[in-house]
Structure formats: structure tokens, C-alpha cells
């Protein structure tokens, strides 16, 4: 074989090896709304009157407000039961009944996505807490009627930043307007 034909063949082989399908890694982080459609489809099969009452990150939230897995809690007013679905990589990774023992109110439609809520919370206090206290965002949750007693009908994102040896930082963001409504340490 002449060198002239060997080199292109070797190059093609190397290219083919490098272009071989890569093993899929962990699913890409998604914003909270991205899994809602699938969770809602499951909830509709579970109960005709299922209402979304709560959203929480099931894996760590990244800097853009995405997480590999989000959990969605639905409640059926007629039966009083609640059931959660956890969505990861476009599939339902977990489903379980949840004993609530309280009446969570349905979330208002049109809530801002996790990325916008995180950006607002970081601007207000989260960024300073992370750098000043060596803290991290541990939880993002979306619900209605809690953490904002001045207007209990509002649907709000609540972000909990934690740091070793320091009180946690709580930031409540209005899920309709994207404005921070409360912050406190505790």
C-alpha cells in the first residue's frame, strides 16, 4: 500500500472511532416547566380532577435554574389524595402516593420558570450569600399559600440557600411577576 492511500484510510478509521456513539451521560438539566407536560399527562390518568399543587427540584439546581430531575405533586380535591411524579430525561423516573394531611391549593397558571425565579433570587440576596457564606442553593419549591402571609393567594417560588455553620437564607419570589417578596435567615 502506498503512503498516499494509507494516510486517508487511517484518518477515516480514526475519525470513525472518535465519532462512535458516546455512552449517554446523565440527563441534561431542564427548567421546571419542561417536565410539567409529562407529569400532567400522568396526573390526568390518575385522576380527572388532578391539580398541580407543588413543584420541587429532585436533583441539584444549576446556575441557570435547571435540574436533572423535578418533582411534581398533584392533588385530587374529590378524593383528597395526592400523588407525585418525578421527571428526568423526558421520562417519569418515579411515581408515588404522598400522604399530605393538608389541603394544598392549586398553583396559579402562568408561573415563571425556575431560571427566572433563580435569577431574581440571586440578584436580591442569593449571589451574596453564596459567596459570603460559601453557601449553595439546596431547594427550589413552588407552591401557593405559604411563606407569604401578606398575600396568601399568591403562587410563589421559595429558594432555600444553605451554608455550613450558618443560618439558611430563604428567598420568596412572586411566581407571576418575578419579584422578590421576602427574604429571611433561619
Amino acid at each position: 500500500m502506498k503512503n498516499g492511500s494509507f494516510i486517508p484510510a487511517a484518518a477515516a478509521l480514526a475519525l470513525a472511532l472518535f465519532a462512535a456513539p458516546v455512552h449517554s451521560g446523565p440527563p441534561a438539566p431542564i427548567p421546571a416547566r419542561a417536565g410539567l407536560d409529562l407529569a400532567s399527562a400522568a396526573a390526568a390518568a390518575w385522576s380527572a380532577d388532578a391539580q398541580l399543587v407543588y413543584v420541587e427540584n429532585d436533583e441539584d439546581v444549576d446556575a441557570a435554574g435547571g435540574a436533572e430531575r423535578w418533582g411534581y405533586l398533584f392533588r385530587s380535591p374529590s378524593s383528597g389524595r395526592a400523588r407525585a411524579w418525578s421527571v428526568q430525561g423526558g421520562r417519569i423516573a418515579a411515581a408515588e402516593n404522598v400522604e399530605m394531611a393538608f389541603e394544598a391549593q392549586p398553583l396559579a397558571a402562568g408561573w415563571i420558570d425556575s431560571g427566572a425565579a433563580l435569577a431574581a433570587a440571586d440578584r436580591e440576596a442569593g449571589h451574596a450569600f453564596r459567596h459570603g457564606e460559601q453557601g449553595r442553593l439546596s431547594t427550589m419549591l413552588l407552591m401557593r399559600g405559604a411563606f407569604d402571609e401578606s398575600d396568601p393567594d399568591r403562587t410563589t417560588w421559595t429558594l432555600v440557600y444553605t451554608a455550613p455553620g450558618a443560618p439558611s437564607l430563604w428567598v420568596v419570589v412572586d411566581a407571576a411577576e418575578g419579584k422578590v417578596r421576602r427574604t429571611w435567615r433561619g
Binding site: L38, A45, E56, A94, A95, G145, A146, E149, P152, D153
Partner: protein
């Protein structure tokens, strides 16, 4: 010409009268489902950890706010214009049906077509029928786009086969969410199975995820576990062949699943 017209009408009427039956036999792409004695074990991923850990705190938050009055808008909402249109569609369908019936009775009154003029009259009546059928087709297309096009994830369970010691009188399906579906087989369904037919015993929405559920044939017999990953927003069929069912032992079933392709061409 007369013969061909009659043939065309007969073909149309036959086509209209035969509802599109869902195939009882598994589709070519059907896959076998293993029926196991024990529930398939999957690693469980935790969800809503903050909620679970702080349930009492969240409950206290909500209880604290319960006494407060909340202003809620109670105004009426607009009716979907599609629903208003259905009334007009029903009226149009009735009118078309009555016109066709009237033309049919007029034709029945005539004993014999004696002239080319009569044949022309017949063609005109057939044209009227064509228009009525076209109108029905359009109305069905509207309904299909409003409803059938909105297929959600559903499961239909179909039974077939007749066991040597007779078919069971009932079966129970238990889903992971705690739902139990108890199904009693009617005499007509049993007759159909005995004659080699297939019967649909369940059609319901199902969660679009990998899941297992149990099936049992009476309290005294052993249940079996099936694992299913239904295709989202499609009708998923599960056929249970009872031919080899022995003493109600569900693990002696053979099961296949496939997705019904009911999209309009």
C-alpha cells in the same frame, strides 16, 4: 351504467355501515410481555424530599393562613366555540339524513325505470347521497381533530383464547397507584371467547411511564405481574391469551402488547 351505479352505492353504504373495528389480533409490531410471579423490583428514586421532610412545617404555614379571606373572581368563562358548533353539525347531519330518506322513499314508489329520464333522476339522487356522505365526512373530520387527535395515554386490555378448564368468571388488575379494576366477564363475552373471538374488557387512561401491575383471576388463584412501558399519547393494547391458563394461575398466561396506530391516513 345502472349496475355500476348500484354497485357504487352498495359499496358506499357497506363502507359506512362497517365501523372501523380495532384489530383483535396483535399487530405485526406486537411484543411479548412476561408474566412473573413476583413484582419486578426497580430502584426507587426519592422525590419531593423537602416536602416530605418539612410536611409539618408546611402544614402549619397553610393553617396559619386559612382564616384569611381571599378575593376570588367568580365570573363566568367563555364557552369553547367548538362546543357551540356541534349543535349546528348535528342539525346539518339530521337534515342530510332526512333528505336522503325522502329521496329513497320517492325512489321506492317507482316500480320501474322506463326511460333515460328516470336514470338521470337516479343519478341526481345518487349525487345527493354523495353530498350527504361528503358532509358527514367533513363533520367526522372536525370531531376527529377535536377529540380523536387528542389521544391521551390509554390502555386497552383484550382477552382471547379458551382455557381447557374453562374461562375464569372475572379478573382483577391492580395498578401501582393503588387502583384496582375488577372485571366480571359477561355471558356474551364468554361466548365470544369460546367461539375463538377476542373481547375488550378494559379501556382506561394510564400513566405514561414504565410500570408494573398485577393481574389475578379470583382470590384463590395466584396473581401474576406484568411490566409495561406505555407509549405516551397513544392507545396501548395488551392482549392476554387465556389458552394456557391453568387453575387461574396468571403466570400461565401469554401476553403481548402493541400500540394501536389509529392516525388517519
Amino acid at each position: 351504467m345502472r349496475t355500476s351505479l348500484r354497485f357504487a352505492v352498495a359499496a358506499l353504504l357497506f363502507a359506512a355501515s362497517t365501523a372501523p373495528a380495532h384489530a383483535a389480533a396483535p399487530a405485526p409490531g406486537a411484543t411479548a410481555v412476561r408474566v412473573q410471579r413476583v413484582q419486578p423490583d426497580h430502584a426507587k428514586k426519592a422525590t419531593l424530599r423537602f416536602l416530605v421532610a418539612n410536611k409539618a412545617y408546611l402544614r402549619a404555614e397553610l393553617d396559619r393562613l386559612r382564616a384569611k379571606t381571599v378575593q376570588v373572581k367568580g365570573g363566568a368563562v367563555a364557552i369553547d366555540p367548538r362546543f357551540l358548533r356541534y349543535g349546528d353539525m348535528v342539525a346539518a347531519a339530521r337534515t342530510a339524513g332526512e333528505s336522503a330518506a325522502s329521496a329513497d322513499s320517492a325512489r321506492a314508489g317507482r316500480q320501474l325505470f322506463v326511460s333515460v329520464t328516470d336514470l338521470g333522476l337516479l343519478e341526481s339522487e345518487l349525487d345527493q347521497l354523495d353530498r350527504a356522505l361528503a358532509g358527514q365526512r367533513d363533520r367526522l373530520a372536525v370531531l376527529q381533530s377535536d377529540f380523536a387527535g387528542d389521544q391521551r395515554t390509554a390502555l386497552a386490555v383484550v382477552l382471547s383464547g379458551w382455557p381447557a378448564d374453562g374461562a375464569p368468571a372475572s379478573l382483577t388488575l391492580s395498578l401501582e397507584d393503588g387502583t384496582r379494576e375488577s372485571i366480571a366477564l359477561t355471558p356474551e363475552q364468554l361466548d365470544a371467547l369460546r367461539a375463538g373471538g377476542a373481547v375488550q374488557v378494559l379501556h382506561r387512561l394510564i400513566e405514561p411511564r414504565d410500570q408494573s401491575f398485577s393481574i389475578g383471576f379470583g382470590a384463590a388463584s395466584a396473581p401474576g405481574w406484568l411490566e409495561l412501558d406505555p407509549a405516551r399519547d397513544r392507545l396501548n393494547l395488551l392482549q392476554l391469551d387465556l389458552s394456557h391458563l391453568a387453575a387461574g394461575d396468571a403466570t400461565s398466561l401469554s401476553a403481548t402488547t402493541w400500540v394501536l396506530d389509529d392516525r388517519t391516513p
